[in-house]
Amino acid sequence: MRDEGIVRERIPRGAPVNRPMRSSQAPAAWLLMTPALAGLLLFLLLPFGLAVVLSFSNLRMGSPLPLEFVGLANYTLAFTDTGLTRALLNNLLFALVVVPVQTALGLALALLLNRPLAGRAVFRTLFFLPVVFPLSLVAVVWVLIFAPGPDGLLNAALGLLTFGGWEPRDFLNDPFWALPAVMLTSIWQGVGFQMVVLLAGLQAIPRQLYEAAAVDGASRWRQFLHVTLPGLRNPLIFVVIVTTILSFRVFDQVRIMTRGGPQDASNTVIHEMVRTAFDQGHVAMGAAMSVVFFLVILGIALVQRRLLRQRGEVS
């Protein structure tokens, strides 16, 4: 009664004020949905459509020549004569290394912290710290850590660990070490994320399961295999999928640390795409690479979902 004035505006025509929620709330719903919808359409779907369309053209930045349709030429060229294939390979390698290593480390840390230790909040904070650092900052600091010569931090540390057996290297300019260097940087920055998710997952596993297993005489290792891992299934899957997808999106570190590395040794898909479209101005080719990239991500997401169907999913 107090709000009759307001209420009347909201209620669809013909509906009395106190009718329970059965009638359509379309006007209000659209009101609420429209800003987000506009954003998604204008800034996600429209450019995506543009990418597809442009990928069949010969658009170059600033070219005064008329736009031409070139069919699949950009795609064929992308795979035969650009850095794309090497970049895709690098991203694949990246995923194959970083996903297991980062997940294993994250799991190890989560396990270590999943016990009533004093000061574990401090540890948790410290491990999560790198996640809070912007990648560009991480890249810049690690450039220094990778400094060539025996004076570089990493070279010196490795020299110490191998009692002088380590030959100092210029990691970022070395065709073999450039990609591993970028991987290391990413792992350092990302482990905290895995740790936090997996820790939450660990804490969600009911104690009774462990107790039951212990009563059955299972060793700690067997408990781990049969209680912990299955219980962590969903968070693990999530973490694996996210990290895999992120492995294909690597850009900041490459752009700052190696710019694609010695002869594409550390080139990644996004870096190649930006180089092609922005540095070289070949927008159409960049668009084609964007489409390829999207298909790759879609493929990964689908494959992983299928292989690792999460428990509790309906579809």
């Binding site: 904070t125 410290l126 850590i145 482990v191 998710v197």
Partner: protein, 278 residues
């Protein structure tokens, strides 16, 4: 091993400490480097002095403020992220609520749309969006670095999931009292969804504070460059003044660190929630 719980605890501590050292080393390196004169940063990088300097000074910090418009970069970052988070919470929560709670004919379609769009990573549309917006002349300001990121399918989905889980009684009561949709939303739903808002705010903030690719493509003037671009550009001006660069880095990450330490629980919960729901 079961017989020596103390040994196990000690081992756990030892491992934790070792890992901590590995993780914290680069951070310490950066911090110490920011307090050393430029030449020494690189020269002493391979020695213990990388972590335990002989002398410390704040010269580099002073230099950062003199050499580089740090204040401008910080202001840009704050404004851009403020817009993304502020508007983002509003816009995405609205959408999430409409999808979760309201009955309307477009609901299924919109939900499908959001889920479909969720798969599109930003980089897949970065180049065409760059071209699209530059072509209409919209570049080199704060808005162009914020508005495209306000509508976020992941945020919508998080809100949607959360609102689905809210008990209906509260809204029903409000409805019986005659409150309309918007009123219900702001007066009833929002106060009960603080956790969701905090999580989404933190996720949005974390994702976008370190944004580098988009500002790289879309900004030219220093007045609108955010911090991540600032440090990258700073880093390439030869001769490299590492001390200044490290000081810049410390200053750049400090606000986020402070936020993080204060709102730690929310950070962790927010990040973890993406995992549990996803």
């Amino acid at each position: 091993m079961n017989r020596w719980p103390r040994l196990r605890a000690a081992l756990a501590y030892a491992l934790l400490l070792a890992f901590t050292l590995l993780f914290v080393a680069p951070v310490l390196f950066m911090l110490v480097g920011s307090l050393k004169p430029d030449e020494l940063v690189l020269a002493e990088a391979g020695t213990l002095r990388a972590f335990f300097p002989d002398t410390i000074s704040l010269d580099n910090y002073r230099a950062v403020f003199e050499r580089v418009p740090f204040g401008l970069y910080l202001a840009s970052s704050l404004i851009i992220n403020g817009l993304i988070v502020g508007l983002g919470l509003l816009v995405n929560a609205f959408a999430g609520y409409a999808l979760a709670r309201l009955r309307w004919w477009g609901r299924e379609a919109m939900l499908a749309l959001v889920l479909a769009v969720l798969v599109i990573p930003f980089e897949a549309i970065a180049i065409p969006l760059f071209y699209q917006l530059s072509w209409i002349g919209w570049r080199d300001d704060w808005l162009v670095q914020a508005i495209p990121f306000v509508a976020n399918p992941l945020a919508i989905f998080l809100f949607y999931s959360f609102f689905l889980g809210l008990p209906r009684e509260l809204e029903e009561a409000a409805r019986v009292d005659g409150a309309g949709v918007l009123r219900t939303f702001f007066v009833i739903v929002v106060p009960n969804a603080k956790a969701a808002f905090a999580s989404v705010a933190i996720v949005l903030f974390l994702f976008h504070w370190g944004m580098y690719l988009w500002p790289l493509l879309m900004t030219t003037s220093e007045a609108v460059r955010p911090l991540p671009l600032g440090i990258a550009n700073f880093h390439t001006l030869p001769p490299l003044q590492w001390g200044d660069i490290m000081a810049f880095g410390v200053l750049m990450v400090l606000p986020v660190l402070i936020l993080f330490v204060v709102f730690q629980r929310w950070f962790v919960r927010g990040v973890a929630s993406t995992g549990i729901k996803g």
